[in-house]
């Protein structure tokens, strides 16, 4: 051994079990945390109405020709402060969007489908109410849909999901605590002989506790990192799937999990927490076992 390798066996059956348990719990905790952080971000974005895009609907009007209506509306929208771009959707675009509901065919040719203009906003506040009024006043048949109602509902949904997410996270944390404590104690039981022999040889309690807590700290951190890596692969993988072409219709509008570096920092805390839980449990348990010895 050499001093650095410590008193504890490098690998043992109980160590492998503890690794697995910590890895699984940290995987679940990372997923729950990723979920909660994403929902939290969405809720605040939706609440602030920063969804990034609005739509202008142009209903056929007797007062203006369809082409002029589009031209007028585009001109008005494009000059509005805070608008990044605006694009009239072609008939083909509209057919493609409605296809899931109406099926393929020539249905649309015979229907008065409203012409749509997709407006992309720059980040930051935009005077949407004024734009809406300007459109209805300036272009007959134009109507701005700022998704306000839709946003409000989404925000409410996200906020309540976030609350559910926090409860799940809380439950997982409690379960993790209980399971990691239990597994650490089971691991210690396997090392009881070491505790007793070293105690009788004249080791002080803190010496023994330090050896054990160092061992279990790294055990917890290693298990936690395995779980974190698995969770990161899952989260990134799911975002990737959603971006890919095989994703279901509309999936690209779903939020990406874990987007900011800050989120990754939070996730990094999970293995650290695992290590600390295992370490403190080991220390507490060893000191309690030793306390019962004369």
């Amino acid at each position: 051994m050499s001093r650095s390798s410590g008193l504890m066996p490098a690998e043992s059956a109980s160590g492998a079990t503890l690794h697995t348990i910590v890895a699984v719990m940290s995987f679940l905790a990372c997923l729950a945390l990723g979920f909660v952080l994403t929902l939290g971000r969405l809720a605040s974005e939706w609440t602030e109405g920063l969804s990034g895009s609005v739509t202008v609907q142009l209903l056929p009007s007797a007062q203006i020709s369809a082409d002029d209506q589009v031209k007028e509306a585009l001109r008005l929208v494009k000059n509005w402060p805070g608008v990044f771009s605006a694009r009239a959707l072609s008939r083909a675009d509209a057919e493609k969007m409605l296809e899931p509901w109406l099926g393929q065919g020539n249905v649309l040719q015979d229907l008065p489908v409203p012409q749509l203009i997709e407006v992309t906003l720059q980040p930051g506040p935009v005077e949407l109410e004024g734009l809406g009024r300007a459109l209805s006043d300036g272009v007959p048949g134009a109507h701005l849909d700022d998704h306000q109602r839709w946003n409000a509902e989404l925000a409410a949904f996200a906020t309540s999901s976030e609350a559910v997410g926090w409860s799940v996270l809380l439950l997982i944390t409690a379960a993790t605590l209980a399971i990691v404590i239990f597994a650490t104690q089971a691991g210690l039981q396997a090392h009881r002989e070491i505790v007793e022999v070293v105690h009788m040889i004249g080791a002080r309690d803190v010496f023994i506790a330090n050896e054990f807590q160092r061992h279990f700290l790294w055990l917890g951190v290693r298990g936690g990192i395995i779980g974190l890596v698995l969770a990161a692969v899952t989260l990134v993988g799911s975002s990737f799937l959603m971006d890919s072409r095989e994703a279901p219709v509309g999936a690209q509008y779903l939020p990406q999990f874990v987007s900011s570096p800050l989120h990754y920092t939070w996730l990094l805390l999970v293995p650290v927490m695992m290590g600390l839980i295992a370490m403190w449990t080991a220390r507490f348990t060893v000191l309690r076992v030793l306390g019962r010895m004369p």
Binding site: S2, V197, G202, R204, M293
Partner: protein
């Protein structure tokens, strides 16, 4: 250095297995503790090496009353005692060298400080070429010698050995006893628990204690011999 006065001991709520035990061990003396299996020899040694507490009576170790010694001062007392456990109690995941160095490590010494000494001790007990072996690969006699080396590596003032010849053939048993006698000559107080009668003839025991039915008596024949020698 060890003094027992009317000591009684029981495990949990069980019967008293040791009753009214009184004796003293002086520095540099040599003792045998005999008695049939189950008489309580191991239990008495546990009291001496502070692994169990008496239910009554007074124990004093190295001049300290154990009952009034704070718990955090007991490790310092334990370090003055070397123990050869009945079942060796070697740590299976550590090498022979690491097992033997353990008491020195526990005292906070660095490996550079004790390495040469431990190697010398191990070659003295005939294990100079097994430094990196794990206990599982050793024979009973080799384990026994590792356990003895661990017990003496920190130069204890008191050496306790529990049935040290129980698992080895007479040839090795004789060598082990010579080792203890040698250590005793260097000043270590030795107490050996055994029910091996052959040992008794070989050793210069200052006293032979006999445990039976929970009581400790000084074996009469040997006291006679000792008195005859003194006269």
């Amino acid at each position: 250095m060890v003094r027992f006065e009317n000591v009684g001991m029981r495990y949990g709520l069980g019967p008293e297995i040791l009753r009214d035990i009184s004796f003293t061990l002086d520095a540099g003396s040599f003792h045998l503790l005999t008695g049939p299996s189950g008489a309580g020899k191991t239990s008495l040694l546990k009291l001496i090496y502070l692994a169990e507490r008496p239910c009554r009576g007074a124990i004093s170790m190295f001049g300290r009353d154990i009952a009034t010694t704070p718990r955090d001062e007991l490790p310092a007392l334990r370090r003055r005692i070397g123990v050869v456990f009945q079942e060796f109690r070697l740590l299976d995941h550590l090498t022979v060298f690491d097992n033997v160095s353990l008491p020195r490590r526990v005292m906070g010494e660095s490996e550079g400080h004790y390495r040469a000494e431990v190697e010398e001790l191990l070659s003295w007990v005939g294990l100079g070429n097994r430094l990196n072996a794990k206990p599982a690969t050793l024979s009973g006699g080799e384990k026994q010698r590792v356990a003895i080396a661990r017990a003496v590596v920190a130069k204890p003032e008191l050496l306790l050995a529990d049935e040290p010849t129980g698992n080895v053939d007479p040839e090795i048993g004789g060598r082990i006893m010579r080792l203890f006698i040698e250590l005793n000559k260097l000043g270590t107080c030795v107490m050996i628990a055994t029910h091996d009668t052959r040992i008794m003839e070989r050793v210069p025991a200052s006293r032979i204690y006999r445990l039976a039915e929970g009581k400790l008596t000084v074996a009469k024949a040997h006291e006679f011999m000792a008195e005859a020698k003194r006269a």
